[in-house]
Amino acid sequence: MTYFFQQSLNALQLGSIYALIALGYTMVYGILTMINFAHGDLFMVGAFFTFIAAVLLGLPFVPTLLVSMIGVALLGVLIERVAYRPLRNAPRVSAVITALGVGLFLENFTLVFYPYPQHIPQLIQNTTWNIAGVSISSLQIIIILLSVGMMIMLDLIVRKTMVGMAMRAISWDKAIIPLMGVPLNLIVSATFALGTGLGAAAGTMYALAFPVIDPYMGILIGWKAFISAVVGGIGNIRGAMIGGFILGTVEIMVAAFLPSTYRDFVAFALLLVLLIFRPYGILGKPRPQKV
């Protein structure tokens, strides 16, 4: 039983990181029906901003987290302005290819400055407690609480504020709502800022939990977060959170109770089966196509 609780804690930690990144995919999709494949690499940039803030500027944890979130949010807004906005009315494939290109650019740009994997120092005094045989570290608690806190805040922003209302309205109908005086470009920028900022927060926490970072670290985890968003129902914010926790749990539990070599194929086979029964994801709803 201790073993099960320990693995559940592992799942919760991994799941909250997936969920935070998945939010970025789902928010952009909700607003623009476009998949921002550069999001995994923005997560990576978040980890490198963490490195710059913590090591080169010597900042403690909270300012580091803010530097990384604000830096990447600005970068996200810039990317949207420069790379995606000119293509907003272009065929969907062009936007997807551009996003992949932006991702590759970010990877190789970082590679120029940091060809070596970098080490992140311990920003938080890490104590490990042993509660009835289960090891819990302060870092784990911070990651889980901070992620859940950010998700609750995002949920409140989207449901209770004017900006959130505008976001929901635009995701409902991109053509009509701007005619009612909602500034489309401003809301899109705000969405990118929020989504990539959360991705950067995930990057910072990931870099603290797994303190070796490299320019390719965002690829695999970006795909997994994207899959989480789809499983939860892409475009649906609560769906992305649920999807992240589901993927984290499935991955950890498969490795925990079956030979770990089976992890990825069993995990993804399960998700495929889930999508067969819920093709729009767990919380997703089919969107009526206007002809």
């Binding site: 320990q6 693995q7 070596y116 994997p117 090891s135 303190p211 070796v212 991955e251 770990s260 992890r263």
Partner: protein
């Protein structure tokens, strides 16, 4: 736009012509290619290999050149990056063979890149010496036990290394139960994990957990929790220096306190940078110990330190030895062409290198040599024990 294209085409043609001139003029030059992991997941390996290769070539050129068959040749080096990818290793090898026209290739280093590149070298009949690859498959044809004709290495092979580490765990650490965590997607890690398991079990030990992950994973919590539950006396991590620190840190956070063991893939100074103090006191097997060096090795270590300001790691030493083997092969062949290099390599039966004495058996590209066990102490790797073949 059109004008731009035209200029581009003209420049392209001009550069091709220049390149052609370059190859035409090389009468008294021996061209040697290097494939190294300059970028990707293990760039420290590529950097060491590049440094040692440049040092080896510079020493020859500064001394006037290499005398082969009564004629002195300068050495020209072509270094290709494989970007830490198997397919790019193969294409870098073909580029060196077909475009740069090299007589021999040194590298790639990691087995997962050396194996695809060695296939290209074998089919193009060009000698390839991998400095650091320890997987037996590098020098074997396909899945057979028949050796490749053109592929050699400067390192010992994994069955030996797996045996050395297993014996060390049993005899020196008195371990009865061992756990292994390894990258199942990488030839090197997988090979050595299996050889360790085989020897450990044959010698009366028990493998209580044999866990895997795939390249790029950073979260090992599920596997490590499983290992903790199995309660081993020692944990073997035959993984690369960029991943080992994460595995050890996460294990410590889960409350695992047993000693960790590693293989030669640990032997980069980067390991200590990435680990901080968490790798203190752990052991790994490798090719040579910089602090217990022979006169041949001391000479190399001094030269390397003077040129690059740091102590050469095992990749650097093995790359240097690969070039040493190559110079020997060229001298004994007496001619500079691809077939002669192959004939010259086959003639070497014994070579005293930086990483110790290498004996080549007829028809095999694998040297018989000894290993050392090093211990991580402070910011250094300290010699702990020798293991004879």
């Amino acid at each position: 736009m059109k004008k731009g294209t035209l200029i581009f085409v003209v420049m392209l043609i001009a550069s091709m012509l220049l390149a052609a001139c370059g190859t035409g003029a090389g009468g008294d030059v021996i061209k040697i290619g290097v494939v190294a992991e300059l970028t990707g997941d293990i760039p420290a390996v590529g950097a060491s290999s590049k440094n040692a290769a440049e040092l080896a070539v510079k020493e020859i050129n500064d001394a006037g050149g290499l005398e082969v068959g009564g004629k002195t040749y300068k050495i020209e080096l072509f270094i290709e990056d494989n970007a830490g990818k198997a397919d790019q290793s193969a294409s870098a090898a073909s580029k060196l063979i077909t475009q740069q026209n090299v007589v021999a290739i040194v590298g790639p280093n990691a087995s997962r890149y050396a194996i695809p590149a060695s296939e290209i070298a074998e089919s193009s009949k060009v000698v390839l010496i991998s400095p650091w690859s320890t997987n037996p498959k590098t020098t074997l044809k396909g899945d057979t036990t028949e050796p490749k004709q053109y592929v050699f290495r400067a390192a010992f092979i994994d069955p030996f290394q797996g045996r050395v580490v297993a014996k060390f765990a049993l005899d020196n650490l008195g371990a009865k139960n061992a756990a292994v965590l390894y990258d199942v997607a990488s030839d090197y890690n997988k090979g050595i994990a299996e050889f360790f398991k085989a020897t450990f079990e044959e010698s009366g030990g028990t493998i209580v957990a044999f866990e895997t992950y795939t390249t790029g994973d950073k979260d090992f919590s599920a596997q490590l929790t499983k290992i903790k539950d199995a309660n081993p006396d020692v944990i073997f991590l035959p993984n690369y220096y960029s991943e080992v620190p994460l595995q050890i840190q996460q294990a410590h956070r889960l409350g695992i306190t047993v000693p960790f063991l590693g293989s030669d893939s640990w032997g980069s100074a980067e390991l200590i940078t990435l680990c901080g103090t968490e790798c203190e006191g752990y052991y790994f097997s490798t090719h040579y110990a910089a602090d217990a060096a022979t006169p041949v090795a001391t000479k190399f270590i001094e030269a390397y330190k003077a040129a690059y300001g740091n102590t050469p790691d095992d990749v650097a030493a093995l790359t240097y030895d690969s070039f040493g083997l190559l110079w020997n092969a060229l001298k004994s062949a007496g001619k500079v062409d691809r077939e002669s290099v192959r004939a010259g390599m086959a003639m070497i039966t014994n070579y005293e290198g930086v990483t110790g004495n290498m004996a080549f058996e007829a028809g095999s590209g694998d040297p018989v040599k000894s290993a050392v066990i090093l211990q991580v102490k402070g910011d250094k790797f300290i010699w702990f024990a020798n293991a004879a073949p």
